[in-house]
Symmetry: C2
Subunit: 240 residues, 2 copies
Amino acid sequence: MISIVPVEGLPEILDGDDLAALIAERADLRGGDVVVVAQKAVSKAEGRVVRLAEVEPSDEARLLAGNEDPRRFEVILRESKRIVRTRPPLVIAETRQGFVCASAGVDSSNAPEAGMVVLLPEDPDESAARVRRGLYELTGADVGVIVSDSFGRPWRQGTTDVAIGLSGIRPLLDLEGERDSAGYELHATVIAIADELAGAAELVLGKTAGIPAAVIRGVDARGVGSGRDLVMPAERDLFR
Amino acid sequence: MISIVPVEGLPEILDGDDLAALIAERADLRGGDVVVVAQKAVSKAEGRVVRLAEVEPSDEARLLAGNEDPRRFEVILRESKRIVRTRPPLVIAETRQGFVCASAGVDSSNAPEAGMVVLLPEDPDESAARVRRGLYELTGADVGVIVSDSFGRPWRQGTTDVAIGLSGIRPLLDLEGERDSAGYELHATVIAIADELAGAAELVLGKTAGIPAAVIRGVDARGVGSGRDLVMPAERDLFR
């Protein structure tokens, strides 16, 4: 059995907050648990926030923006390595961290104040590792940590949460070489368990409920890896 | 808190099996629970299996197949409305049911016998509704049912399970009009909860463990809808 427990009662996260300490006070953790923390909370704690009043939009940003605020598009361009597809005001970009997602992860909902946008963490794996180290020091529990974000998907409606950073977690479960119940080898069956864990946690996080973290127990996802292991290499990607 | 419990001890599913009866005997169900059933089990119970020895490949199938078995590609073509992208031996197709996925959902792993492939259910919503009606008759519990399948994704490595059919489930949670904790409206925040439920269940299903069903408790996903509500309409899809 798997359980997913929301970490309740967290205050609004501010720049400089110690997320591990805030979570450790409110969660009962055991070794092997997976702690999923919403990217928005991580980014705010890391001060990854931009005040649009301080942004001067370039011509390219004005062009992308159409009738929308060009300063937001300027921030999107700064966070992007490459624009993958646009249909104003929608922009799909490859972020500097290597993720392909809408608006390069730049988001104005749940920002600390009006006129602010929240960016992805500079290095989401390092963010996850920092929370993990903090939780270990405070609780003695060796947990895995996932930093999650809501990504849209080609072909399918709605967002699902995926893992953008992780620590102490095996991101992919490769069943190659394992055999199914009839004895046939399961080729090319690689399951993105870190993404499934992030999506499962989203079911209790709730965008409006102010619950930025959850604890999943009962899944053996221990291992090593990076959030970037979940990104399809460009040369294997038919849609980039 | 959410719990996810595997339905253990199910036999190998055969053509004509009553999935609802097999699950009802082994699961403790309550109203509001979500029962996730793997597509492979549903398809086998519905006889959606093709013996490759009985398939005559067309020229188009031979062309697509390259060095692989052209009969498998013939079945893929029959299950497809349209081929979206190919890079032999990989075929991404839009299935007759409207899903965009690898091999039009035609799969040879976990087939009943060698030389057989398993197809998607003809109508996965109707499959879900049938299991739901059966569970209600046998247990009195009004549960939601999701038929799940493992789909690959552009841009990301590995598969996650998604909902291809459902009954008694609200597939999408639309937060438009709701406000975040700072009072700002959350635009365009639609969460694919049925896909997140399917992915969460996958964490206990296990491709090799022979567990084709799981019960999720603690998520209010009651509602109406179709697995097709999770498919991005072609005119809004930037990648089709």
